[in-house]
């Protein structure tokens, strides 16, 4: 039997993979994918808890997160494209002009 704890454990694992990916990877596209991973980990947790408590709130929020994630990807990829055009690089460490 697959218990809610399993889903939560999977969610935590996905989130940690995503977080570590954001922190250690330089390729902007990979960083993006890791962000998606974290969002989906959160979605999984929402849905799991919604099932556990028998409410719909968590499921509705999961939809909102998906919408936000889709919008974010659109804007993010557009920025990424223009940066790549200008600098011939998709590394997040190369885009460091906005600093002290």
């Amino acid at each position: 039997m697959v218990s809610p704890a399993h889903f939560i454990a999977l969610s935590v694992i996905l989130f940690v993979i995503g977080a570590v990916g954001v922190l250690v990877r330089r390729n902007a596209i990979v960083v993006f994918m890791c962000v998606e991973l974290m969002l989906n980990a959160a979605n999984l947790a929402f849905v799991t808890f919604a099932r556990m408590h028998g409410g719909l709130d968590g499921q509705v929020i999961a939809f909102f997160v998906m919408v936000v994630a889709a919008a974010e990807v659109v804007v993010g990829l557009a920025i990424l494209t223009s940066i790549f055009r200008a600098r011939r690089s998709a590394s997040v460490d190369d885009a460091n002009l906005m600093k002290y």
């Binding site: 977080a19 954001v22 922190l23 250690v24 330089r26 960083v31 997040v92 460490d93 885009a95 460091n96 002009l97 906005m98 600093k99 002290y100």
Partner: protein
């Protein structure tokens, strides 16, 4: 104070109900309107008024004088107790319980001043037509002079202290503008500033007095203040008296605010005659006599007034002895004579009338002397050093005679003015009794002798002896437009004193306003005879020194006293060391404290924040992943904190 003198202090003016001006007096605002109109026309008229401006400038004071005579004649038709008439021009200030009407008070005291200001003022205006005839700015000069006359009339006609103060400041402004009339001369510009600043010190005293009056009595009108002053505490009355004295010292060039008057001689000579001899500088005496109900209640303030007067009369006389500049010698004499008036005013009802009598007589003979000095200066190519004069009696006979009559009047030769008006002051000072009376009387007596010395010196150095003129100077008698005012003033110098004093004319006239002396000693008093003896001695010494010997063209080294007197008895040095230097130290200390203390504190705080934020901004590396890490750590901290609170 002795008991009998205290009894005489009750002030009659308070008891007199104020009556409204009627008839001719109902138009008393004309007195202010004439000279004010003249000032406006002349100052705003521009160059197109140049050709006829001086005529307007002369006509206005003459018209005011004619009106003043008419108002005086009407006043004489009233019984003595009903001669004080009020006229409200308009409500000036109407706020809450603070009501100040711009009101005029025509009474015996103010009409004396009106006649003096407009009468002597008109004569000096006429003289100035000739004296300033070569000056391209003559129109502006007359504009300022009319402004002065208007302000001075407001000063003496006001029925409250606030309007008096407005006139007081107006004459200060006119004095400043006229001392600095030739502002292209640095000395004149400096002298004007000096006069203004010294006057400001006195004005501060007067304005504080007015504030104190309003605070204590809720009123600044003469009737309101004098009605309430009887119930005020002794400390308040004395403070009022001393503050008014400070104001009087500034305007009347009394010690310790005397230093500006000698420098004020940089102005054109008609200005010296009108403002710095006959009228404005006597405003302090007017203020004291007008405030008689206040001074009657405080023997301490009266004594302070008398001491200031006695010190100044000696101070001015000693300075007058050493000056070679004819105008400065006369200026020292003015200080000295006003010292006599202050001394008399400080004696209370025993001296008020004599102060005013001497003031009026002084207005004549000192204005005459200054006009004489002006015509000499005019003919000597603006030379004022008496060591460069000499032997002018033959070439300028009219000036010589008129100046000589003024000279005899000021030293107090009977039966000229000074004899009648100065000797009662000396007598009244001795009559005060006690140590203070003896000291004040001795000072006044000595002053009479010194006056005779320095005035004889001026007379001999200017008009007698050999001709020590510079090359190319050809003096002649001045034109009639200048001699005729001098002749009229000389007649006044001869007759005014006797007219005022004989038969107690002024005493009976002014009595209802100022109170009368408790006792009368007649014309020939022992003090007066002693003064005459000293006058003879002083004149004889001056003759021995300056009449029998030839006067050297360059001043000899002189004794330490002479050197000190040439330097105005170190009046400027005292001001510099007591006020200017400490003031500058205070300024420097304040600047240091401001830079190091206030700015230091603010700057330290700013530098601390600036430095720490400079270090803190290094966190903004520009690397997205470091931001992500800090966000991650922040989230962890937040979650940790939440868990900690939960547990």
């Amino acid at each position: 104070m002795s008991g009998s003198a205290q009894g005489a202090l009750a002030h009659p003016a308070v008891a007199i109900a104020s009556l409204h001006a009627t008839g001719i007096q109902d138009a008393a605002w004309l007195l202010l309107a004439f000279p004010l109109l003249g000032a406006v026309v002349l100052l705003l008229g521009g160059k197109r008024a140049n050709s006829w401006g001086h005529l307007v400038g002369v006509a206005m004071p003459v018209l005011a004088f004619a009106y003043g005579v008419a108002a005086y004649v009407q006043m004489l038709s009233y019984p003595a107790a009903q001669r004080s008439r009020d006229l409200v021009i308009f409500q000036w200030i109407n706020v809450g319980r603070f009501h100040v009407p711009l009101g005029l008070q025509l009474d015996q005291l103010s009409i004396c001043f009106v006649l003096l200001i407009t009468g002597v003022g008109s004569l000096i205006h006429i003289f100035a037509v000739g004296y300033m005839s070569h000056d391209p700015e003559r129109r502006r000069f007359f504009g300022y002079m009319n402004l002065f006359v208007a302000s001075m009339l407001l000063l003496v006609l006001a029925d409250n202290y606030l309007a008096l103060y407005a006139g007081w400041e107006g004459v200060g402004l006119a004095s400043y503008l006229l001392i600095g009339f030739w502002q292209f001369k640095p000395a004149a510009a400096t002298a004007a500033k000096k006069a203004f600043i010294a006057n400001r010190v006195g004005d501060a005293g007067l304005s504080l007095a007015i504030m104190l009056m309003f605070f204590q009595f809720g009123s600044v009108s003469f009737s309101g203040v004098f009605g309430a002053v009887g119930s005020a505490s002794h400390g308040v009355v004395t403070a009022l008296g001393l503050l008014l004295l400070l104001g009087a010292c500034g305007k009347s060039a009394q010690v310790p605010l005397q230093s500006w008057l000698l420098d004020a001689m940089e102005g054109p000579t008609p200005v010296s005659a009108l403002i710095h001899a006959a009228t404005m500088v006597t405003a302090g005496v007017y203020l004291i006599v007008r405030s008689a109900p206040i001074f009657n209640l405080t023997a301490d303030a009266r004594l302070a007034v008398a001491i200031v007067g006695a010190v100044t009369l000696l101070f001015g006389a000693i300075i007058g002895c050493a000056k070679d500049d004819i105008k400065k010698a006369l200026a020292g004499s003015t200080m000295s004579q006003i010292g006599y008036m202050m001394l008399a005013a400080g004696l209370g009802p025993a001296g008020y009338v004599f102060a005013i009598a001497h003031l009026l007589a002084h207005g004549f003979f000192k204005a005459g002397l200054f006009l004489g000095a002006g015509s000499v200066k005019h003919e000597m190519s603006d030379e004022v050093d008496m060591r460069r004069f000499g032997g002018l009696a033959r070439v300028m006979p009219i000036t010589w005679v008129t100046f000589g009559l003024g000279y005899l009047a000021i030293i107090g030769v009977p039966p000229l003015s000074g004899f009648f008006t100065k000797d009662p002051i000396i007598d009244a000072a001795f009559s005060k009794g006690g140590t203070s009376g003896a000291l004040l009387g001795t000072a006044a007596l000595l002053g009479a002798g010194i006056t005779a010395f320095y005035m004889t010196r001026v007379m001999l150095m200017t008009f007698s002896g050999g001709r020590r003129w510079e090359d190319g100077v050809h003096p002649h008698e001045v034109p009639a437009v200048m001699t005729s005012p001098m002749i009229v003033l000389a007649v006044g110098s001869v007759a005014a004193g006797g007219f005022l004093i004989l038969g107690n004319r002024l005493l009976n006239f002014l009595g209802p306003v100022t109170g009368v002396p408790p006792t009368s000693h007649g014309i020939w008093t022992s003090a007066g005879i002693a003064a005459l003896a000293l006058v003879v001695v002083g004149a004889a010494i001056a003759y021995a020194l300056y009449g029998r010997r030839e006067v050297p063209v360059t001043a000899p080294a002189g004794s330490p006293v002479t050197v000190a007197a040439r330097k105005d008895l170190y009046g400027d040095a005292v001001n510099e060391s007591l006020l200017m230097r400490p003031g500058q130290w205070l300024t420097r200390l304040s600047v240091y404290f401001d830079n190091r203390g206030v700015d230091g504190l603010v700057n330290t705080v700013a530098a601390t924040f600036g430095g720490s934020s400079g270090r803190l901004r290094r966190v903004q590396t520009g690397f997205v992943r470091s931001y992500a890490l800090s966000m991650f750590l922040g989230a962890v901290l937040l979650v940790g904190a939440l868990l900690l609170v939960r547990l």
